[in-house]
């Protein structure tokens, strides 16, 4: 996994609440057996018209959002299906961080597993960011610093956020979680012996 320490990048604003993972990556694209190849299907039904042309009205197709790597999203982003294809698609499209008032639980975990930083800010802070992005009159950039746990722009916006310390360390160092767990092999084995004894009705 690519570590996430601090990232500065262009912002794309998607001010819609309850965006579900069926929108992020529609089901017809879940049939691949690889982890790659999903980026071009991101927000497929919204980003592209039925004839395959770009939908000029969709937020990610606005000129200012071209090349964006930070997504401003509405509340409860990523609800619904557990498909990890959603963060795979977001990552491959170029997003490194997603900022929202709230995230669905499974999607949040799936982002961290893929080196995408999900940042929870308050409703007021999100409203301010959406307003600044809209008022920028051109591309709007933010810096998301995980070491300091701060989101900032160059015009005075400054907000603190907090990530679970375990997840923060994992992202900062780009750690392989399976490798981390295998360190505890002895405890897993001990737990399994206790479990087997309990199921067999004998005191361990």
């Amino acid at each position: 996994m690519i570590p996430f320490t601090s990232h500065t990048g262009r912002v794309a604003a998607l001010p819609r609440a309850n965006v579900d993972t069926d929108q992020i990556i529609p089901k017809q694209f879940l049939k691949r057996v690889e982890r790659t190849g999903f980026g071009r299907y991101l927000f497929y039904d919204w980003r592209l018209l039925p004839d395959g042309a770009e939908n000029p009205a969709f937020e990610l197709n606005q000129p200012n959002a071209a090349g964006a790597s930070i997504l401003l999203a509405g509340a409860n982003f990523g609800c619904g299906s557990s498909r990890e294809h959603a963060p795979w698609a977001l990552s491959e499209y170029g997003f490194r961080a997603i900022l929202a008032e709230s995230f669905a639980d499974i999607f949040f975990n799936n982002c961290v597993q893929n080196g995408i930083l999900p940042v929870r800010l308050t409703a007021e802070e999100m409203a301010e960011l959406f307003a600044r992005a809209a008022a920028a009159g051109g591309p709007y950039e933010l810096t998301v610093d995980l070491e300091q746990e701060i989101v900032s722009d160059t015009a005075g916006f400054h907000a603190r956020f907090a990530l679970d310390p375990y997840l923060r360390t994992k992202l900062l160092q780009g750690l392989d979680e399976i490798g981390l767990t295998l360190v505890h092999e002895e405890q897993v084995a001990r737990f399994e012996r206790r479990r087997a004894a309990m199921l067999a009705g004998v005191e361990p």
């Binding site: 001010p15 069926d22 089901k27 049939k31 639980d105 893929n114 375990y166 505890h184 405890q187």
Partner: protein, 489 residues
């Protein structure tokens, strides 16, 4: 020491290790695997040279993109076939039991787990599928995970997890005539919203929950994720034991007696407390129908499509406007009388034997409206066989329903069963998201009885007007015949 909730008892009993930063390493008793969210996980194991730690606690089936018509033919969609073939090869390579397309026990993963007796009280159960919450109906802690976590569980039989908060949802009173478990859960989601349960495990309690059969409890727990909750749970009781006794993989003999001793204390202690509590009056709930593009956009059958201007917050107003545009509905339109093109009875929410019985009671002796194409997709091949033993297939077919093989089918339209753009569907599934059942398709979620009634009338209708629905999903004496499987196997 103060008492513990059901969730806390199960959680505490599965902690292998506590990370100093907070999360724990949680042991997994049962890992269910399907074709869509597993291939990349198996690839990861191969690349790292890892094995599956406990193939004996891992069970696989194909459900998401399998065809529900003729199974003698190869899968026509080449990409779907590749995914199904990949699971067959992975199960073989890693020594995992697989209920494949030709198995008499194949079915939706959340239908076959309980049916086989694999789902047991007090277990931790995970699967790369958000509707894993279904299994909580047995007092298991069951939740959906992503593919990276699937790989983690395959390799270690554990999961790194932070402790969720607890929420009690109490349904007081008994539901009225024609009201089933789907109405209870939709009413809850309408009340607390699709993010109302975020970060929580819900425990469902109260008279209405106790009165539900296991099938009904599974319907309720299944849609916990639609309220944003991590999981839903119901404490095991005599109904749970009756369902499990004699199932092929349930404990037997002395093992069974020991298991019952472990299971029955799995209730929330009287002096335990929840982080949040929500009370609903089950007796006041009417049949529920969704009008929008998420399950929280729901009202009772007598209701009307809301006016976006009535929403206080700007974001909610815009969301409602978008939903109405997508659904092609005008504010103030009564839901009753809205014409439908398709009816889908199926999914891990509502494709168990009781759901099919409930729909068949409404359909018997009637004809599907000639403007409607209706289909029944049983949740498993065992449900299908049971329904055929009871003659339900003949009732559906005589009425003009298509009678299919088991799978997820039109709940998410990964197989050929999809809506055409603009088609309106009365569906017993769990998600009315844009495009979920097919790009441009419009989904109205409701109970099996309500969907059956819509098929007959050609429009959304209050099933109570058609008669023949008797508190669907309720335990009563019918539980005796609700055993899908014969005891031997």
């Amino acid at each position: 020491m103060s008492g513990r909730t059901l969730f806390e008892k199960v959680w505490d009993a599965h902690i292998v290790h506590r990370h100093p930063e907070g999360p724990v390493l949680l042991y997994v008793d049962l890992h269910l695997v399907h074709e869509v969210t597993s291939p990349q996980a198996f690839d990861g194991l191969r690349m790292a040279g890892r094995r599956v730690r406990r193939p004996d606690l891992t069970v696989a089936t194909v459900d998401h993109n399998v065809p529900t018509d003729d199974r003698a033919l190869p899968i026509a969609d080449e990409v779907s076939r590749r995914q199904v073939d990949a699971l067959v090869a992975n199960a073989e390579e890693f020594g995992i039991e697989l209920f494949d397309l030709h198995s008499p026990r194949q079915g939706i993963v959340h239908v076959i787990g309980p049916e086989l007796g694999l789902t047991t009280p007090g277990s931790v159960i995970v699967c790369g599928d958000s509707h894993t919450s279904t299994h909580g109906a047995f007092g298991a802690l069951a939740f959906g995970i992503g593919t990276s976590e699937v790989e983690h569980v395959l390799a270690t039989q554990t999961l790194v997890a932070s402790r969720p908060r607890t929420m009690e949802v109490r349904f007081n009173g008994l539901p009225g005539y024609g009201i089933g478990p789907k109405d209870l859960i939709l009413a809850l989601i309408g009340r607390i919203g699709t993010a109302g349960g975020t970060g929580h495990v819900i425990e469902y309690t109260g008279e209405a929950i106790r009165a539900l059969s296991m099938e009904g409890r599974m319907t309720v727990c299944n849609m916990s994720i639609e309220a944003g909750a991590r999981a839903g749970m119901i404490a095991p009781d005599e109904t749970t034991l009756e369902y499990l006794r004699g199932r092929p993989r349930a404990p037997r003999g002395r093992d069974w007696e020991r298991a019952v001793q472990r299971w029955l204390p799995l209730t929330t202690d009287a002096d335990a407390s929840y982080d949040t509590t929500v009370h609903l009056d089950a007796s006041a709930i009417a049949p529920q129908v969704t009008w929008g593009t998420n399950p929280g956009m729901v009202t009772e059958i007598g209701g009307r499509v809301p006016d976006p201007d009535d929403f206080a917050a700007e974001a909610d107003r815009r969301t409602a406007e978008r939903a109405l545009a997508y659904m092609d509905l005008k504010p103030g339109t009564p839901l009753e009388g809205l014409p439908v093109d398709r009816v889908f009875v199926g999914s891990c929410t509502n494709a168990r034997i009781e759901d099919l019985r409930e729909a068949a009671r409404v359909v018997e002796g009637r004809r599907v409206s000639n403007r409607v194409r209706a289909m029944v997709v049983p949740g498993s091949m065992q449900v299908k066989a049971q329904a055929e033993r009871e003659g339900l297939d003949r009732i559906f077919i005589a009425a003009g329903f298509e009678w299919r093989n088991a799978g997820c089918s039109m709940c998410l339209g990964m197989n050929p069963d999809i809506l055409q753009p603009g088609e309106r569907c009365a569906s017993t599934s769990n998600r009315n998201f844009e495009g979920r059942q097919g790009r441009g398709g419009r989904t109205h979620l409701m109970s099996p009885a309500m969907a059956a009634a819509a098929a007959i009338e050609g429009c959304i209708v209050d099933v109570r007007r058609l008669g023949r629905t008797e508190g669907s999903g309720l335990r009563a004496e019918r539980v005796a015949q609700s055993s899908v499987l014969s005891p031997q196997s």
